[in-house]
């Protein structure tokens, strides 16, 4: 079969519209996984070890996925340091989610936590140890004993490099299991047939510029988050929400997209995270008047209050004109009173980051910080088997055959309105494995590949073709900047009704401009300008879904804080948002309040 490049394809689109799909090279796998972070590699391992032929696509080398940035650890009620059990962990997670989490999925995750941690240990993960040889555990915010009692000690870590150690462990194991990695490949679009079943993806080999259809009996998205839609973001540049955008374009709804966690202390201007450890050691926040303002917002916990509380306090200070600097647009994190010794011995990494990115040595000077987008709770709707579910024919949660999603791009939903620290690494292990197992079962039933529709890759090719032919178009960098500024201004920590309304219009204009981007480099081989233009199209999908969903939810819950509706409203809003790209339509589905075996945790006020 002949392989056509993009140039030839453009020509072919004009001349032989019907022959294009057959012109694209196709490769067949049992399963295709998009994304090689912790979630994708955990699922891939399950499949490869079962002897299936698995392809994993990744824009960058697998061990450079964003999982590498996770420091806190993995939550599991092992009880190695203090008494613990999964049911307490489940309570903390339901409460942390502000009752928007699905309690069946949360029970499923917390019950399996110990098992997936021991499994990882068995794979060679270098966990920190106690003297008795058991896995060391440390306390983390939001973890309690006895359903809201004393602090629990639940986080399993490998120094402050847990994500890094996990990625390397899973990668090595996958190599041994013969998982096939397609490195520096970008998936472009999902392939669905006329029945709506998913049959694979169309993907771009960045190296050669070749477009290929990867046909699979099961397709899993594990593409991570998309917090690059905000100007102030802790996410790496690769986090452009590709899987979410591909799903939306293929008619799959996106769930709870209004819920984004903002970390209170990202370095002003760059976003790099300053960990909670600084405030844990006694650092505190100041406004331009030198006031320790957290005392007003959280008299007891002060600077150690939960992430959403501190982020909202910072935003209020900025809004009321008490920010620092010429534009009054940041606040200060003071550490110098801790002394040079404490800073050098306990916070050396933080000091390096402050010097490098804020040009401030915290031994003498405070660090300029702002609330910074960190994690998306929403995503592609799935059940706890990792199967993508959507309302199509009869019910609100029908399985989309052949399609699975796990990790930050998925909404299962265990984090609901707000994620607890250390629950995301647990999420990717539990549901990565669960999705792998489910795919193995489903593949036993579906022994043959479904017929690939003739127009399988047409939409992806049309987008490439549009980009190549665009004349007098927009700059990718400029439209990207405008998108991020619009999201930051109109849909940040605090949400105001008039700003959201304008935001929906403005982000619509950004979306239109993103459809007219032009690239100067039209070559095939290693065209990063093309990749970045495609990433921008993906960011647009994520941004529009976020703005539209946020504008509609007239309550405050978890990370979604409305100025005009400051309280949670369980009568009207104890439900998940579903955003459909077509017509920007919204629908809703109930929260799954019934766990698998235990009693439900009914909603009550969330206080810490």
């Amino acid at each position: 079969m002949k392989s056509y490049g993009i140039y030839e394809l453009n020509y072919a689109i004009c001349e032989f519209k019907h022959e294009i799909s057959v012109a694209i090279v196709r490769r067949k796998f049992d399963a295709v996984i998009v994304g090689a972070g912790g979630a994708g590699m955990r699922a891939a391992l399950q499949l490869s070890e079962a002897g299936l032929k698995v392809a994993v696509l990744s824009k960058v080398f697998p061990t450079r996925s964003h999982t590498v940035a996770a420091q806190g650890g993995i939550a599991a009620a092992l009880g190695n340091v203090t008494e613990d059990n999964w049911h307490w962990h489940m309570y903390d997670t339901v409460k942390g989610s502000d009752y928007l989490g699905d309690q069946d999925a949360i029970e499923f995750m917390c019950r399996q936590a110990s098992e997936v941690v021991y499994e990882l240990e068995h794979y060679g993960m270098p966990f920190d140890r106690l003297e008795n040889g058991k896995i060391y555990q440390r306390p983390f915010g939001g973890q309690s004993q006895n359903f809201g009692g004393a602090q629990a000690t639940r986080s399993c870590a490998a120094a402050d490099r847990t994500g890094h150690a996990m990625l390397h462990t899973l990668y090595q194991r996958n190599v041994q299991a013969n998982t096939q990695f397609f490195v520096e490949w970008m998936a472009l679009d999902l392939i669905r047939d006329e029945e709506g079943d998913v049959c694979g993806v169309t993907a771009l080999d960045i190296e050669t510029g070749e477009v290929m259809a990867l046909q699979a009996r099961a397709t899993l998205f594990a593409t991570g988050g998309g917090a690059r839609i905000f100007s102030a973001s802790t996410n790496a540049f690769i986090n452009t929400g590709d899987g979410l955008a591909m799903s939306a374009r293929a008619g799959v709804p996106l769930e709870d997209m209004e819920f984004w966690q903002f970390h209170p202390t990202g370095v002003y201007g760059v976003g790099v995270l300053i960990s909670e450890a600084v405030r844990g050691e006694g650092g505190y926040l100041l406004n331009k008047d030198g006031e320790r303002f957290m005392e007003r917002y959280a008299p007891n916990a002060k600077d150690l209050a939960s992430r959403d509380v501190v982020s909202r306090a910072l935003t209020t200070e900025l809004k009321e004109g008490r920010g620092c600097g010429r534009d009054a647009d940041y606040l200060l994190l003071k550490l110098d009173h801790l002394g040079a010794d404490v800073i050098k011995t306990r916070l050396p990494g933080i000091r390096e980051i402050a010097i490098k990115f804020a040009h401030a040595d915290p031994i003498h000077d405070p660090i300029p910080v702002v609330p910074t987008a960190h994690y998306m709770m929403g995503g592609i709707p799935t059940n706890f088997y990792g199967q993508v579910v959507a309302p199509y024919k009869t019910g609100p949660e029908e399985v989309v055959q052949g399609f699975y999603a796990v990790g930050e791009c998925a909404c299962v939903s265990v984090h609901g309105g707000n994620r607890l620290g250390t629950n995301s690494l647990l999420d990717i292990l539990v549901f990565g494995r669960a999705a792998g197992n489910r795919m193995i079962e489903d593949l036993k039933k579906n022994r043959h590949h479904k017929h690939l529709p003739a127009d399988a890759s047409d939409k992806a090719l049309a987008r490439l073709s549009r980009l190549n032919d665009q004349k007098d178009g927009e700059s990718v960098a400029q439209v990207g900047d405008l998108l991020r500024k619009t999201m930051q201004t109109h849909c940040g920590v605090f949400r105001f009704p008039d700003m959201l309304k304008q935001g929906v219009e403005k982000i619509g204009e950004v979306a239109e401009r993103a459809m007219r981007t032009e690239i100067k480099d039209k070559s095939r081989v290693f065209n990063t300008a093309r990749v970045e233009a495609l990433e921008l199209e993906n960011l647009v999908e994520v941004a529009v879904a976020t703005m539209v969903s946020a504008e509609a939810r007239t309550e405050s819950r978890g990370a979604h804080a409305r100025d005009d509706f400051p309280n949670r409203d369980d009568d009207r809003w104890l439900k998940h948002t579903l955003y459909f790209r077509e017509g920007q339509r919204l629908d809703y589905k109930p929260v799954r309040l019934k766990p698998l075996t235990v009693e439900s945790f009914p909603p009550k006020a969330r206080t810490y």
Binding site: V60, V68, N235, A236, V270, E352, S523, V531
Partner: protein
């Protein structure tokens, strides 16, 4: 072919800290590197994220042969 684009893409990392430092390096120094330094830079890009970051923030001195480029990365 497309050496610059390849290098730019391999500066896409899992850690935002590295994304930013490497982007600054590409903008300020990449075009001025000689052949030997280009080789050093590629060797550094092949390192795992945390190892590279430790070398940039002086926690690890690493291989002496890489010092010239490493010093530039420490400056940006």
């Amino acid at each position: 072919m497309k050496k610059l684009e390849r290098a730019r893409w391999r500066c896409r990392r899992g850690l935002l800290e590295l994304d930013i430092v490497l982007q600054r390096f590409m903008d300020e120094y990449y075009a001025k590197l000689d052949e030997a330094e280009l080789g050093q830079f590629e060797t550094l890009l092949d390192l795992p994220d945390n190892d590279l970051w430790d070398m940039i923030t002086l926690k690890e001195t690493g291989n002496g042969n890489l010092q010239p480029v490493l010093r530039l990365l420490q400056k940006v």
